[in-house]
């Protein structure tokens, strides 16, 4: 049950990260999106296998899902790792380690802090140059200031919205699973990630706001 909760939490966190990554400058990063999807897939596998073990009714998986054979041996390895840590001094396997934390809590090691949602990109007047070389420092003026105003007015989410096509793209199976299995989860999850930045909740100005789930699914299939 704890394993299932942890997997669920990581799935939610991953989907939220995928959504949030669309807001950054430069849009979606292929490598980052791939890594997030791999974690989502691992968590989904564990979540579903934990459900099977708990003898809950399950919708049969489409045969084309999870083509990676490594996912199946991994499930067994994770179960074995959780059951019997080989050495008492070694760090606990990942799911057990996070059980100490309350779901959705902000507990992180020491001064681990979330990356600030809004950081001023504007350059300081002098940076690497010594004081005597201030005349060599190129300055950035109007362009950066215009961009900051744009960000403040939350127009970025509009520009980065992909065309509203679904179920085709890099990870269509994952998208379908998200729609089918996690619609309730994403709408009212107790393990939601803490304090998502305000930009994520900005209502698009050009058309009616989509449900969070549809936007998140589009984030997965965007590229």
């Amino acid at each position: 049950m704890e394993v299932q909760k942890e997997a669920q939490r990581i799935m939610t966190l991953s989907v939220w990260k995928m959504y949030h990554s669309r807001m950054q400058r430069g849009g979606l990063r292929l490598h980052r999106s791939l890594q997030l999807s791999l974690v989502m897939r691992s968590a989904r596998e564990l979540y579903l296998s934990a459900k099977v073990e708990a003898q809950e009714p399950e919708v049969p998986l489409p045969p084309s899902e999870s083509p990676d054979p490594r996912l199946h041996p991994r499930r067994e390895a994770e179960t074995a790792a959780e059951a019997a840590p080989p050495d008492g001094e070694q760090p606990s396997p990942e799911p057990m380690d996070t059980q100490e934390e309350a779901p959705g809590a902000e507990e992180t090691p020491g001064r681990v802090a979330r990356p600030p949602a809004k950081v001023s990109r504007k350059r300081r007047s002098s940076s690497l140059s010594d004081g005597g070389d201030a005349g060599l420092v190129p300055s950035k003026k109007a362009r950066l200031e215009e961009e900051e105003e744009k960000e403040a007015s939350s127009e970025v989410p509009d520009r980065l919205q992909p065309p509203p096509t679904q179920a085709e793209g890099a990870f269509p199976n994952l998208a379908r699973v998200l729609q089918r299995r996690f619609s309730g989860l994403l709408n009212c999850s107790p393990a939601a990630p803490p304090t998502p930045p305000p930009a994520c909740e900005a209502v698009p100005a050009c058309r009616p706001a989509d449900s969070m789930l549809n936007v998140l699914v589009r984030a997965v299939v965007a590229f």
Partner: protein, 372 residues
């Protein structure tokens, strides 16, 4: 300032690393544009270049012997600075292309080399002739016909230092492929494939992320290459594909913290690594403004810190230690006290001398061996 100290001598504990200089603002509130994104010495070590997220390049030049200012000998001072990249907007895709400087590579001056590799794309490697700017050769293309089948991306690439037809590229799956451009124009088929078998006992949700290679560097000799993944540095013999010849743990104490590091995105940090001039030592960065050096011959390692507090002229750097568990000794720092916002991603080692440049967010620290 001759490079007598650089040849054949191990680094790490056998040397006294001393503070030399620090460049950059002291403000606590760092502007994102000022965050250093790449550091590179040129082939002689007389020039040191940095690039930042704001698209600016700053070039420092080493001062030569100067009778008027004898204390400035060996110092790096600003030689030139320019705005290399500006942000662009791709109207077709409605995407803003950021101006961050990803990599700086100096051209060797002694021969007529006219080529450079660009690997900004995740799925392709292109070869550019410097006199032909409107097109390039595509030499590696791993984009699948169906993007649903995408399983890995290219993360780093480098030419062999001596064999101009040989290059390596690393992947997000922790593998390295060596390609020979003489064997075929399109190097989709590798000549060698380097991969270490996974340890099943350490499997977790995040195994794939932490196995992704963030940097690959050939040794100066060309006999070895080094890869950096999230927790370790591995040295590979080009003649052995089955496993690395050396594995150095950078911060193994983070393995039990991967979930938290995933939450705060630190698990996606891309650390670089570098060799010293004689290939006897390697260096890479970590968190809390720590950086690590590994002496390959003595198998000793040391953790040092780049901080303003220890930035007195010619002050020796004191080795630091992280307490992974149990009773914390005096002068040790516990894992939970590490500042994960202070990360050293980019480091460079002078090609001959024991002089290192370490980028800590928006500051550039220069340290040198006391013997220098």
């Amino acid at each position: 300032m001759a490079g007598a100290g650089g040849g054949g001598c191990p680094a790490g504990n056998d040397f006294q690393w001393c503070f030399s200089q620090v460049k950059g603002a002291v403000d606590e509130d760092v502007a994102e544009a000022d965050i250093i994104s790449t550091v590179e010495f040129n082939y002689s070590g007389d020039l040191l270049a940095t690039g930042d997220k704001g698209g600016r390049v700053v070039i420092f030049q080493r001062e030569q012997e100067n009778k008027i200012r004898p204390h400035s000998r060996g110092e790096y001072n600003v030689y030139s600075t320019f705005q290399s990249h500006e942000p662009e907007f791709d109207y077709l895709k409605s995407l803003e292309i950021e101006e961050k400087i990803n990599k700086i590579r100096w051209l060797p001056q002694q021969n007529a080399a006219h080529f450079l590799l660009s690997t900004n794309d995740d799925l392709r490697i292109n070869l550019w002739h410097l006199e032909i700017t409107d097109r390039s050769f595509n030499i590696v293309d791993i984009k699948p016909a169906n993007m649903e089948e995408l399983t890995e991306v290219i993360t780093a690439a480098e030419f062999h230092p001596h064999q101009c037809n040989v290059l390596v590229y690393s992947s997000s799956k922790g593998t390295i492929r060596l390609c020979d451009m003489r064997s075929s124009a399109l190097c989709d088929r590798h000549s060698k494939f380097f991969e270490e078998p996974e340890d099943p006992s350490s499997r977790s949700f995040f195994s794939e992320i932490i196995s992704s290679i963030s940097d690959v560097k050939f040794s100066h000799s060309g006999r070895y290459m080094m890869t950096r993944d999230y927790l370790s540095v591995k040295v590979w013999d080009l003649n052995m594909e089955s496993r690395p010849v050396e594995t150095h743990q950078v911060h193994e104490y983070l393995r039990s913290k991967l979930c938290s590091l995933y939450e705060n995105d630190c698990i996606f940090d891309k650390f670089e690594c570098c060799w010293n001039g004689s290939d006897s030592a390697v260096m890479t960065g970590s968190y809390n403004n720590f950086f690590r050096m590994f002496d390959r011959s003595t198998r000793r390692d040391v953790t040092l810190e780049a901080s303003r507090e220890s930035s007195k002229p010619r002050a020796s750097l004191k080795p630091r230690k992280v307490c992974a568990g149990g009773k914390r000794k005096k002068d040790e720092i516990s894992v939970d006290s590490l500042d994960f916002n202070k990360k050293i991603l980019h480091t460079a080692w002078h090609p001959v001398d024991n002089v290192i440049a370490v980028a800590a967010t928006n500051n550039l620290y220069i340290f040198q061996d006391k013997a220098n």
